[in-house]
Symmetry: C2
Subunit: 262 residues, 2 copies
Amino acid sequence: MKRIRLKVAYDGTDFHGFQKLPELRTVEGVLEDALCELCREPVELIGASRTDSGVHSRGNVAVFDTESSIPPDRFCYALDQKLPPDLRVIASEACAPDWHPRKQKAIKTYEYSIYNGRIEDPLLRRYAWHCPYPLDTEAMREALLQLVGSHDFTAFSNPASQILQRGGSAERTICSAELMEEGGPAYGGGRGLIRLRIKGDGFLYHMVRIITGTVMETGTGAKAPEDIKDILNSKDRKKAGMTAPARGLCLMSIDYAAEDGT
Amino acid sequence: MKRIRLKVAYDGTDFHGFQKLPELRTVEGVLEDALCELCREPVELIGASRTDSGVHSRGNVAVFDTESSIPPDRFCYALDQKLPPDLRVIASEACAPDWHPRKQKAIKTYEYSIYNGRIEDPLLRRYAWHCPYPLDTEAMREALLQLVGSHDFTAFSNPASQILQRGGSAERTICSAELMEEGGPAYGGGRGLIRLRIKGDGFLYHMVRIITGTVMETGTGAKAPEDIKDILNSKDRKKAGMTAPARGLCLMSIDYAAEDGT
């Protein structure tokens, strides 16, 4: 028996999230079915991040145990023909038999894409949130900087969060929060694609999407960048902005510290 | 009666090309239906570029005549609710009543996207051609440079081209042909997205896709950049490379010289 670690990429549009649910198309469900067929044995996946319905990934991580004789680094190729086009295993390798993707220190990188043009771009509609109003990206950058560091992120998380409901800590550390602009004529002149790239040691339920919704309000002028500190201190979800839609969010990578892969 | 000029963007995946065809979903057909409904009169579109099935656009141009009282610059907003999500009119304005989008000098800009990773990226599958082999992008840049200038592009066009079959000239001018790389960790490390951006005064049937297929072969080493001149001189389609798939191609813009818009 060996444990295999997979890097999993998907277009979340047509999945009901990562985690297996009866009767619904989920990443975990579809991937487990393909692995069972490939390995000819029952397979149970353990995923690192249970991304929401509609959220995309270029770097989610999952492990499973198998008796299969397929070489660990070949699983990604062997799965290619068994997976639908909106789901791919982009890398595979052996890891220690007790390595658990949610019990290791890791830095997660998320990107949130906003299309800032007067009219929606049909080529970005599945992967970006459309904002037709002019955005002050300098104010948004300032707002993002207020979030960097260790804070109690209760105000920036959905109160339905299981961790919060069980009385767990809402303290998380954001290592960096950048804004990148891709403008120019490709997007009809001037305005274009805005990406928020946020790295942290862990994220509460809806945290990146609520951060995005709040930072967006500093871009339209509805909030000031300085308000972010007050919102953090309030620990009140109602003080923060709206939850940005799932389609703009992509889990880019999970970087584990001091890997012990076999 | 006034003539309105539209800038048209679409995700070509689910369209059978631009030009109207009986029983099939086309950009022209869907857009004309929406305009008829909006203007409450029969509308006939004249398109600048009859893009192929599966080809995308961020800047195709079309005109139509109308008695409607909608202000010319508001058509793009008025159409927003009447169009499906994969089709948008991103700008609208009045133009001279005799202005014809195919009878003006213009520079067209196309981009062809290639995803160069070992395993397909599910988020790019609709908009890029997947090449799993390492590509020598310097050789590809050299090959592209050989194409810049005025040449007879018979070897780089589909022999079914109506222009060629009618005995028309195959001489076209490519103003610039660049290769841009977006690599990095976002695409699983090292390799990533390669874009070919080609500007010219006109393109023959399948010309950008055959250029891409040929330039790709200089990237894998199957052809040398110097071969491009011989292929041009041969005027023989069989000497050039394969026709790259439609999904990687996007018409980015059409820039008309010395506009006479009213």
